[in-house]
């Protein structure tokens, strides 16, 4: 009879009996059996079994759980812990150096790993303080060049409003652009990068506000300033309602506008990919050099779009293709192939390869390097810790033997070692986290020029990561020895037949791994150091140190300033240029040997390259001359010349012809991941010079810069003094 009635799965019943409180079990199990029998009749045995298993799981809750099964049977005696602690401490004192190396190494490594973690977390949570981050896209242009396509971060001024009006899926757009201006406070003037944005900027982004109402941003005279700017001009006082006079350079003249401070931002989070120092309403530009915003050739630095449904993005991109003619019509540069919308949340890893992009960025290779260094340190510390702990444990075999003779259980011995190691690891990691917070992170922040010191250590990911690390260290360091040694019989221990030290394969392989990780770390560090040295000194193709560059206001008498600076003892020579090596260059089309070529152009002074230490490969530098006319000579780089001798050849550009007077060695205009491009060097007129490069006999000191500043204001009062290295 019993065989004929179908019964629920036995294991499920046993599980129920195990976890359920005995006083509730009978009623629950009875109800389930009763229902099970009906279920078999209605839906068959298989379905009924599945139902039963599901019900067993569903019954797990706080009312039914039998806590006796879940809590350990023998609670740990606190006085026992105390004696474990004492034994551990005495054993550590027996080998003071080994213990010190072990715990200090642990602390150092934890510190490094925490820094790596903070850096990566900061990087991958980029811009997450913007509430609408996942809906914000940055417009980029795909430009067609002969070598393929390139991405450009700027976009035509009318594009944003055009897209917003055209596509209902785009709920908001904002344009963002910036330029240089001078802020005048009493008699002092300061140079500042100031930004302009549409009013929607405020609702699209969620920058933290310190003072004032950020939504008060619609009048052309409103301005929102950063905390830094507020400190610089107003000290610690609240500047809301105060006036700021800002002078803009327009053509050859100057235009001064007054603004009222409406809001002050709080300190920018360290993971912000962009920010601003002063933000003016976009329409304020109408008071300057703009008459309207309809010119497709006029570019803004960024157009942001808000698109709620990410699936719509490729559709809008595709539909926009029919409108590229708006921009291509009167385009003198490279033609647009299409527009691309990139999510703001992923801009940091992306913007490195985008020209004219202002977002803070990082190269993927750098991130991978940091991750690998973190992993290597992690493995190394684990292996080192495991090895040292194991070798220390072998010295305590007699202790274990005695305890076993006294009748201590295996579990208790294993627990003693686990406890001891938890204490050591916790202390080591605690010190490591302190080291990271107080020493490593401030140091690392100054190295990568991102302020990570405000990183909150009460971060769920960081805590989870630390617990994981603790688990790996404790169980890695003691799991095997604790389980193995505790198994040994007292007889074997006292006979001295235990051979833990020499011939254990596990031990050997652990030591081998530690050895290789140590070498890997050393080599990686050397490689990293050499690479950074190379970046610093060699491969740029010119020597960027011991130079100071001043930016010049328009229409300045270059000669007067150059002469007074050249007379300073610290200054070896002075060179002027329209553009700077390493800064922006122009894209031009030249006709050379019957072919049209799109190349980069840099406008410089006649002796600029010579003074920057860029050697000639062939030909000669043109004679330095005072000129107001176009100079008919031009220099090219090796990349442009190729294998041929081009000195003396003719080159046409913008209707004028030039003679190649020399070929200079290749140098880096852009960072290392971009290839060296063919380039020509045109000589600009002295009155167009934007930069003055001072070559110094030594690194510039603050006193020297003060001296430069004083001379500057003597010659050019009310023109702000701006310099960079």
């Amino acid at each position: 009879m019993a065989n004929l009635t179908p019964q629920p799965p036995k294991w499920a019943d046993r599980f129920l009996e195990w976890y359920c409180k005995p006083e509730l079990l009978e009623a629950i199990q009875g109800d389930m059996w009763e229902r099970f029998e009906k279920y078999v009749e209605e839906k068959g045995f298989r379905r009924a079994k599945l139902w039963y298993i599901l019900q067993v799981c569903l019954f797990i809750n706080l009312y039914t759980l039998n806590m006796k099964h879940l809590l350990p049977k023998n609670p740990i005696n606190p006085s026992l812990l105390q004696s474990y602690f004492k034994t551990g401490y005495r054993n550590a004192l027996k080998n003071p150096w080994t213990s010190l190396i072990n715990s200090f190494g642990l602390a150092l490594a934890t510190g490094c790993i925490v820094v790596v973690f903070v850096f990566l977390d900061n990087f991958f949570s980029n811009d997450d303080f913007h509430e609408k981050l996942d809906e914000i896209y940055v417009v980029e242009r795909v430009l067609k060049q002969e070598s393929g396509t390139v991405l450009d971060g700027r976009s035509p001024e009318p594009l944003g409003p055009f897209i917003e009006g055209m596509f209902s899926q785009v709920s908001n757009q904002t344009r963002f652009t910036f330029r240089n201006a001078t802020v005048k406070i009493e008699d002092e003037v300061f140079s500042e990068w100031v930004s302009f944005a549409d009013t929607s900027f405020i609702s699209l982004f969620s920058f933290p506000v310190k003072w004032g109402d950020i939504h008060h941003f619609s009048q052309p005279s409103d301005v929102i300033i950063s905390e830094e700017v507020s400190k610089k001009y107003f000290g610690d006082t609240n500047p809301i309602g105060k006036q700021l006079e800002v002078i803009f350079q327009i053509g050859q003249g100057e235009h001064s506008l007054g603004f009222t401070v409406q809001a002050v931002l709080d300190k920018l989070p360290s993971n912000a990919s962009f920010g601003f120092s002063m933000l003016f309403p976009y329409e304020a530009q109408l008071l300057l050099d703009k008459t309207g915003f309809e010119d497709w050739q006029s570019k803004v630095h960024a157009t942001f779009l808000q698109i709620e449904d990410a699936d719509q993005v490729p559709l809008i991109e595709a539909q926009l293709d029919q409108f590229i003619s708006f921009e291509n019509e009167n385009n003198s540069g490279w033609p647009i192939q299409s527009y691309h919308f990139h999510p703001l949340s992923q801009i940091s890893l992306h913007s490195n390869g985008v020209s004219n992009s202002f977002f803070s960025n990082a190269h993927l290779a750098g991130i991978i390097l940091v991750i690998s260094i973190g992993l290597i340190i992690l493995f190394q510390v684990c292996f080192t810790y495991i090895n040292i702990t194991m070798s220390l444990l072998t010295q305590r075999l007699h202790e274990i033997g005695y305890r076993k003779v006294l009748g201590v259980k295996r579990k208790q011995i294993a627990f003693q070692f686990l406890f001891e190691n938890i204490v050591i690891c916790l202390t080591g990691m605690g010190v490591g986290i302190l080291l990271a917070k107080l020493l490593f992170i401030p140091w690392f922040s100054s190295l990568i020029a991102t302020d990570l010191t405000y990183y909150s250590f009460v971060n769920p990911y960081l805590v989870a990561f630390e617990i994981l690390l603790l688990g790996v260290l404790v169980f890695g360091g003691t799991g095997y020895p604790a389980l193995y040694i505790s198994k040994l019989k007292p007889g074997t221990i006292f006979h001295g037949v235990v051979q833990l030290k020499s011939n254990s394969i596990l031990k050997k392989s652990l030591l081998g791994a530690q050895f290789s990780f140590t070498f890997l770390t050393i080599f990686a560090s050397i490689a990293l150091f050499q690479h950074s040295q190379e970046i610093k000194y060699k491969s740029w193709g010119y020597n960027p140190s011991n130079k100071l560059v001043l930016s010049l206001p328009n229409g300045l008498k270059f000669d007067a300033l150059a002469q007074s600076y050249a007379s300073l003892p610290e200054v070896e020579s002075v060179a002027g240029s329209v553009q700077q090596i390493g800064k922006y260059s122009n894209d031009v089309t030249v006709s050379f040997e019957g072919k049209e070529r799109n190349i980069k152009e840099l406008q410089i002074g006649t002796d600029y390259l010579q003074k920057m230490g860029i050697p000639l490969v062939s030909g000669s530098f043109p004679v330095k001359q005072k000129h107001t006319e176009e100079i008919p000579y031009i220099l090219v780089n090796e990349e442009f010349a190729g294998e041929k001798n081009v000195v003396g050849s003719q080159l046409k550009m913008e209707g004028l012809s030039y003679i190649v007077s020399g070929v200079v060695q290749n140098f880096r205009q852009r960072p290392f991941d971009s290839p060296i491009q063919p380039m020509i060097f045109k000589f600009g007129k002295e009155k167009d010079y934007n930069y003055m490069t001072l070559l110094l006999s030594d690194r510039p000191t603050p006193e020297f810069i003060d001296k430069l500043k004083k001379t500057w204001y003597d010659i050019l009062p009310f023109k702000s003094f701006k310099y960079f290295y």
């Binding site: 509730l24 009623a27 109800d31 059996w33 009763e34 029998e37 019954f59």
Partner: protein
């Protein structure tokens, strides 16, 4: 007296305990809810509600007679307490009071 708030589901379970008095138990209530209200509830949620009601003192329980079904296991039979009846009445009166406060024309409009 501590005021006991009972939730909607607890109210239903309590009502069925009274309807099936004195032979109400976990499975019978589960099946009646399904049959009368067309609501599919799991056995465990009814059991949990009963535990909670017992904790609040609104029902009391005792083990019934063993039977040949259920593998010979006894049922846990639930009966309502005086406190349980009071809270049910309180719920009903609160409802009545709230209903009486609704403007008449609104209810009339409904009926049409």
């Amino acid at each position: 007296m501590k005021r006991n708030n009972i939730g909607e589901f607890e109210e239903i379970v309590l009502l069925f305990t009274m309807i099936q008095h004195p032979r109400a138990y976990g499975l019978s209530i589960t099946e009646s809810i399904k049959a009368e209200l067309g609501r599919s509830v799991t056995l465990s949620s009814v059991h949990t509600a009963l535990y909670r009601l017992e904790e609040k003192g609104l029902v009391q329980s005792g083990l019934g007679e063993p039977s040949s079904k259920r593998g010979g296991r006894r049922k846990r039979l639930y009966t309502i307490t005086h406190l349980g009846k009071e809270s049910l009445q309180e719920v009903q009166e609160t409802r009545k009071k709230l209903w009486s406060m609704i403007p008449q024309n609104l209810i009339q409009g409904w009926q049409i």
